[in-house]
Symmetry: C2
Subunit: 235 residues, 2 copies
Amino acid sequence: MQKSKRAVVLLSGGLDSSTTLAIARHAGFEIYALSFRYGQRHAAELDAAKRIAAKFGVAEHVISTIDLRAFGGSALTDSAIEVPKHRELAAMAEGIPVTYVPARNTVFLSFALAWCEVLGAFDIFIGVNALDYSGYPDCRPEYVSAFEKMSNLATKAGVEGAARFTIHAPLIELSKSEIIRRGVELGVDYGLTVTCYDPDATGAACGACDACLLRLKGFAENAIRDPARYRSSAA
Amino acid sequence: MQKSKRAVVLLSGGLDSSTTLAIARHAGFEIYALSFRYGQRHAAELDAAKRIAAKFGVAEHVISTIDLRAFGGSALTDSAIEVPKHRELAAMAEGIPVTYVPARNTVFLSFALAWCEVLGAFDIFIGVNALDYSGYPDCRPEYVSAFEKMSNLATKAGVEGAARFTIHAPLIELSKSEIIRRGVELGVDYGLTVTCYDPDATGAACGACDACLLRLKGFAENAIRDPARYRSSAA
């Protein structure tokens, strides 16, 4: 049997990254999952990442600790900024959300690149999405392609011409509803994933932040009940 | 008086980054110095970074902890790999040294970019050098330029067109001897800097690793005595 190619998959424990992992596995890659403890307000996401990684039998799951809080600047890491609730989809599409974490995907992809070099891997999977998160600059195809180009100049393999790095962003052109449909086909158990920006201490979702609203809409469009646990007060 | 523009300067505490900081200051920037605790074998470098930052009166000095050791793969972070000693310059120029840390500059620049976004800064200074370290892929002009391009697509400011990021690499075409000459002109106290890949517990340099040999050659070419402290056993 041919040895599988290795891929590093960025895994937050959310719906998008879990679907991305399933897609990478389905494509035949041996999976090295990478998560970050980056000053998130809550640990529920990382617990979810561990469950997903275990469920899919990844070759290795590394949780790397980095401190982006030292720089501040996002509602997801800075407790002084409030997570917005019950916004209309139109409002979400306007401007860059306060939940944007400065240069987050660039930092995450850089770590993935470092791990690739050590593993001898040339494939990185990231679950960015340009449609639902149009406000995030580092979720656009032109960004992903610029990172890929930079990777091939940054690395030993790039210099030696051994191989080319590919940054796979299989969800980039999909709607949330299409992502969920694909994930269900591939057997992703969405009950294990955490999407909410503001879960309670038990990990139950709020049902009202941008991420929850988009997720619920995606399930509704597939006429599937979202298996995630919501707070009893949630919509 | 006009308010100074802010710049993030990557500061390792070595000769190159300290000279780079002096150049950024001389150019009129208000300096935000950024160092990393990234699993170096020794703390001497970071102590040096603190001394340099204090000496130059930077606006802020952040030391960010990241764990690249989780991935292994370099003599500088993996204690199983030995630091090579007494190599000829010709041997140094061949291939990529074992002291190369996977994707290190990409990781460092990503953090600098995150801090820039929070500070509203658009200038990053990095002391990479393409001549003496031709073996490091992420020290080449084409790499720096690719990172700059990616930065302008990765960020809020890039999307909103508020300003353009510039990655300054003022040493990139200089020889070690030219770097030292420039630093001396700008008043850098090289006695504060640490260059050695393998200092002892007191911070004294070995005088035999690639970094020490290049440094000593640079001082010799300027007919200046290197004020760094070398071990008594050192060449």
